[in-house]
Symmetry: C2
DNA sequence: TGTTCATGTGAACTTGTGTTCATTTTATTT
DNA sequence: AAATAAAATGAACACAAGTTCACATGAACA
């Protein structure tokens, strides 16, 4: 009983795929490299996955689900909406640094409808999360009154940008603190207007 | 004298390439499609460009230069730093909508050092522009005191995110006004703290 | 009309990579 | 030990796309 079980093999393929996709993006990732890192042959990969797209879809779903759980869970308890925003930003940036290319970039180039759907659903969920926080902040008087949905969209967009910046030049990354400061405080001077 | 001149041909290839690259990104763009849209044969393309990478590099440089001029020029006259920020955001979003995929996404996947360099230089220049505005805003008392360089980085990142969002789901785009509001005003209530 | 030169053609070559499949290896069962 | 099943192999196939090149076309000029 030396050989791996089917489940083990499938998992090691997925782990290898997360690595390679994260490093190289979709197009530049080859089945041969995934196979090699997973310690299996090229043909072996196709025992467990129908094709490249299915590998990508599977791991995308896995990572998004994991992130959803993690971010949702760790915000739940926080009462102060400003703290919740800070926390959410921190989680996002940390997670993104780990999976760089994967989460954001691909998907436009490759019109897999399945992947687009799953991403849209994910981002909608995240937006709802933010909306909830903002709504709480506004009604408690801590946040300025605003268009909640629009503002949530802007924040999601903002975070995408931060993450994209991490991807593009990982040397020049700004701190989480400055991200939070801008989103919470803005540029304009307080208590003047 | 019916046939096109070399210059005309080269330009029509570039125009076609801007179209196709913007729609499809780098990997999904084929020389055959560029050639077809430019009204020239596949071989004809290679009279004017060494290879695909050179086409991409040429048009990237062209677009970045154009944007640099345009954004620099239209901000110069503005005195109020808040207005300057608004204007800069507006220009960015408009321009990005036009060239979607092109400016931001590619380049990580394809490690053309020449392209990376040109982009880094571009973003550094843009950051300097923003820094100048912020510095002015702070010293005139209109903006909160802050880490100028870091904040500029954050704003550039923010805009990248906005643009990326345009690229990913162009239906759900938020308004320029909300972008400006967040960057200038932040979430927290004014005049409380 | 023939020569020259710039411009252009598209079939063919090359390479990379997703995918398949006949075959082999290893483990389990009888 | 033989038979069966599970897991794995890697050479071979297919096909798309970047690139090349021998050749064609049209314009200008002698």
């Amino acid at each position: 009983m030396n050989r791996r079980t089917a489940k083990e093999s499938k998992e090691s393929i997925l782990e290898a795929a997360i690595e390679v996709f994260s490093e190289k993006g979709y197009s530049q990732t080859t089945i041969r490299e995934v196979a090699e890192r997973a310690g299996i042959s090229v043909g072996g990969v196709y025992i467990y996955f129908k094709n490249k797209e299915e590998i990508y879809f599977t791991l995308l779903k896995y990572l998004l689900d994991e992130f959803r759980e993690r971010s949702g869970g760790s915000i739940e308890g926080i009462e102060d909406p400003a703290e919740a925003v800070k926390k959410y930003i921190a989680i996002n940036l940390n997670y993104a640094q780990k999976f760089k290319g994967l989460i954001l970039i691909e998907g436009r180039e490759h019109g897999f409808t399945s992947c687009i759907d799953i991403k849209k659903k994910f981002f909608r969920g995240q937006r709802k999360l933010i909306e909830e926080i903002i709504r709480k902040g506004v009604s408690s008087g801590r946040f300025e009154r605003c268009n909640v949905e629009g503002t949530a969209r802007v924040i999601i967009g903002t975070l995408r940008g931060f993450i994209l910046s991490l991807v593009m030049d990982s040397d020049a990354l700004f701190s989480q603190k400055e991200c939070s400061n801008l989103i919470l405080g803005g540029l304009l001077k307080r208590g003047v207007k």
